[in-house]
Assembly symmetry: C2
Homo-oligomer: 233 residues x 2
């Protein structure tokens, strides 16, 4: 479908970009994916992966493209975070950035340094380098959002493998919320929701009682949601 109309908003416009706050987890602490910039400005500094929005993609498509360029990930949990529009947030010119946050299973993918980047690397949240641009501001809001969201939407799973143990899941929650959680109460509550399918499979070769694997039952969640259920941890 071709545009018929030739109207054009005849004024200067900000450039439009997206930045991605990508969280991963590997058993200990929550991790953040950063890239080292190859070019000015902020050459050799660490930054959130980001890039300009093409004319033929939405900002979400742009964010997914960037994320997949950095990690090879094709399907991921991604959600719009906030739009940052401070006039001087980029020293080059005015760039408005629509930030996204994503939760990925960091085991499943290999990091690749894309265009303009020296390398991509996971950092523990407590050991972050100084970030370029206004990216610490973006990150701060992303962490807030993640903390807020994790308790009333079943997104903790996105950080884990398809199969996971209850202890792993609890550990995800503990590191996002930065607080200890009672094991028995956690299990009672999460199992009570009937959203976890117990699998006929246990851990292998662990020097202790092997833990049962579970998977998140998306279908059950969808059905319950339609009946007015809403997740709350």
């Amino acid at each position: 479908m071709k545009k018929q109309n030739t109207y054009h908003y005849p004024y200067e416009r900000p450039a439009l970009a997206t930045d991605c706050v990508i969280f991963g987890f590997d058993g200990g602490e929550l991790k953040l994916l950063l890239i080292e910039r190859e070019n000015e400005p902020f050459k050799n500094k660490w930054a959130l992966p980001g890039g300009f929005v093409y004319m033929q993609e939405t900002t979400e498509e742009c964010a997914k493209r960037i994320l997949s360029e950095k990690t090879g990930i094709k399907y991921m949990f991604i959600e719009q975070l906030y739009t940052f529009s401070d006039i001087d947030r980029d020293p080059r010119e005015r760039i408005v950035s629509v930030a996204y946050f994503a939760l990925v299973n960091k085991h499943q993918y290999e990091l690749v340094a894309g265009r303009d980047t020296i390398k991509a690397e996971w950092f523990e949240l407590s050991k972050l380098p100084k970030l370029a641009f206004d990216h610490s501001k973006i990150l701060k809001i992303a962490i807030q959002r993640l903390k807020g969201k994790v308790s009333y939407q079943p997104i903790g799973f996105e950080l884990l493998d398809e199969k996971f143990t209850l202890t792993q899941l609890q550990s995800v929650y503990e590191s996002i919320l930065e607080m200890p959680i009672d094991k028995r109460n956690f299990r009672k509550k999460i199992l009570g929701m009937k959203l976890l399918k117990p699998l006929d499979e246990k851990e292998q070769n662990v020097a202790r009682k092997a833990a049962q694997f579970f998977s998140f039952d998306k279908k059950a969640y969808k059905e319950l949601t339609q009946k007015g259920f809403h997740f709350e941890l």
Copy 2:
């Protein structure tokens, strides 16, 4: 401070605009402020107030400017909602819109039809006309957000006068949440938070027992928040 750098992202860019979802309340139902468009596209159709972002203002400043142009309101509760970037959301050309939602005390202001608008008018949410562009999509998300937010942030007050009765406040909550609330439980809970200052003032000239006025104690709220308190209705 002048820009030193002459770097320029050398590709075509979307135009950038904001749209405002403005809620008001006057005792009955929740209301939405719409404008009738003076020009094509969607000439004579109803739409959310909106406009292009200037190079020297943030999107939030832009939203406030638009809102103040429509209503004369200078200080209001406003919050970024979501950024809409579908490629064909505007028939003229590609326009990305950062939507805001605002809560205003609709008594305090007089509507003025600004540039490009025939008139501005309040509509009950249940009696809305068909909206231009993707504005019903924006509205839907705004309503979701408002419903979600009202229970864990003290924003219900923003729709009322400085002084209000508990019945008025309850009525705000009932119309946002679209459910009846038990009077005694509501009062117990909201008064228990110590966020309402009872005033030495009652309603006048009402043909029944006059209700006590209260005001929201912003200072107390700030202090409690810093101590880890968080509002929840």
